[in-house]
């Protein structure tokens, strides 16, 4: 046990703590996911004793002891490093990270609406309800009929000479007992959020006009422009006005922009292209050596069984967004495989592994003089199968 995260989770879920520990330990062998979860739990789950999480205490700094801050920083570093590891593997990591960001935003905004206001100014020393008795004297409501000098128009029984405040303060029942300290000045209404939003709309509209006038503007350009304006508004809001509401807008835009831009760059002619079914049958090793082939979504077969790789080293890279990729190689060639799958399965020469962030780097020997094929495969979401022609 380190910080009791497992037993805490177990008691919350009403299961045996051992079960939770086994799951976490198992996960920590799978690319550090368990360690990541444990560190996040330690940081973000409230403690039994204080009812507050470590991150909460470190950030808000009350009862700050340097240890809390250091521990939180250390755990934060662990989270960043592991996230870095996940990111390095696949674009899928980006999605995970975006989800983390959304979670963080929710936590931060739930803590209190608006930017943390400066603590309410304490009343100046010696401040107390105005002792106006000194100035107004003890006014006693006249018991008898009003003196004639109050004038015919005055129907009240109070002297018109005294101000209302004096009257209240000097009233014999005493000053208002609940004289609250002066309320915090209301924050001025901020127009930054609306301003940014409409500026983003304006920029996107201008882009649309440019698009109509003939220049080709990719979908990602619209999203990136809106995201950039949103980011600017937020940075301004760090010092002027308030614009936290833009965080949600930006997260949404980023979540759409990243996959759209990735797909655009993958050169598959946009999102409209349907599932592609294709068999690639290169004629010679020279035709594929050193080349990178990119595919979007589909069912792609590479039939390399007719190629003569003898006595040479050939390098082929295949990148694919999603779908099934099958590569058939000649029986005699040695294969140096480096396959990365964001989510899905790698099945190479009869040995399959699947899951999130699947990576297979392995050499499969061939016959003497059979040549070498270095095969680099990247797949976002789908299945990769590599096999020999005779299999």
């Amino acid at each position: 046990m380190v910080a009791g995260v497992c037993s805490g989770v177990a008691s919350r879920l009403g299961v045996d703590p051992t079960l939770v520990r086994v799951v976490v330990v198992a996960l920590s062998f799978l690319g550090g996911a368990g360690i990541l979860l444990y560190a996040l739990g330690w940081l973000l789950l409230p403690e039994d004793t204080t009812g507050r999480s470590l991150a909460d205490r470190a950030l808000r700094g009350d009862g700050t002891n340097p240890q809390t801050v250091l521990l939180a920083l250390g755990l934060g570093l662990v989270v960043v490093l592991i996230t870095f590891g996940v990111l390095r593997e696949t674009w899928f990591g980006l999605t995970l990270l975006a989800i983390l960001l959304v979670g963080g935003a929710v936590l931060l905004t739930r803590r209190g609406a608006g930017p943390p206001a400066a603590p309410a100014a304490p009343p100046p020393p010696g401040w107390q309800p105005t002792p106006s008795a000194a100035t107004a004297g003890s006014y006693q409501p006249p018991a008898g009929p009003p003196p004639a000098s109050y004038g015919a128009a005055s129907t009240g029984t109070y002297p018109t000479g005294a101000s209302y405040g004096d009257y209240v303060a000097g009233y014999p029942y005493g000053p208002e007992p609940t004289m609250a300290p002066p309320p915090e000045p209301a924050q001025p209404r901020s127009y930054l959020g609306a301003l940014t939003f409409f500026a983003a709309l304006l920029a996107v509209g201008v882009l649309g006009l440019v698009d109509t006038l003939g220049a080709s503007v990719p979908l990602s350009a619209y999203l990136a422009t809106a995201l950039g304006v949103t980011g600017l508004g937020l940075v301004v809001g760090a010092w002027f006005g308030r614009s936290r509401g833009l965080v949600a807008l930006g997260v949404g835009l980023a979540l759409v922009l990243i996959p759209v831009a990735t797909l655009e760059r993958a050169d598959i002619g946009g999102l409209g292209d349907a599932f592609v079914e294709d068999t690639v049958e290169p004629t010679s090793a020279r035709a594929i050596d050193g080349r990178t082939f990119e595919h979007g979504v589909g069912d792609i077969t590479y039939d390399l069984s007719g190629i003569d790789f003898t006595d040479r080293s050939t390098e082929l890279t295949i990148q694919m967004g999603s779908g099934n990729l099958q590569v058939t190689v000649p029986d005699e060639v040695a294969v140096e495989l480096d396959a990365q799958v964001g989510m899905g399965q790698v099945d190479a020469f009869g040995s399959a592994s699947s899951g999130v962030g699947v990576s297979r780097t392995q050499d499969y020997p061939g016959e003497a003089d059979g040549g070498t094929l270095r095969l680099d495969i990247e797949m976002g979401f789908g299945n990769v199968e590599v096999d020999r022609a005779s299999a």
Partner: protein, 69 residues
């Protein structure tokens, strides 16, 4: 609009969004290739996150100092 205390949340998210936009622009004009992204994107996050942590810690320290008055 008056200058107020640095709002770390706004600052960090603003920088993250500007960073994503910048990376997109660099890829679009061909300065960056997709294969470099796995290095650049986490680097942007690390820089922005470090700035945010520093700002948050500084504010926590200052708040703590004010409380001891």
């Amino acid at each position: 609009m008056h200058l107020h205390d640095t709002d770390v949340t706004s600052l960090v998210f603003g920088l993250v969004f500007l960073g994503i936009t910048l990376v997109w622009a660099l890829v679009e004009v061909g300065v960056l290739t997709l294969s470099l992204l796995p290095v650049v994107v986490p680097a942007v996050l690390v820089v922005v996150g470090a700035l945010g942590v520093a700002a948050a810690v500084r504010r926590a320290r200052r708040d703590a100092a004010e409380e001891t008055f």
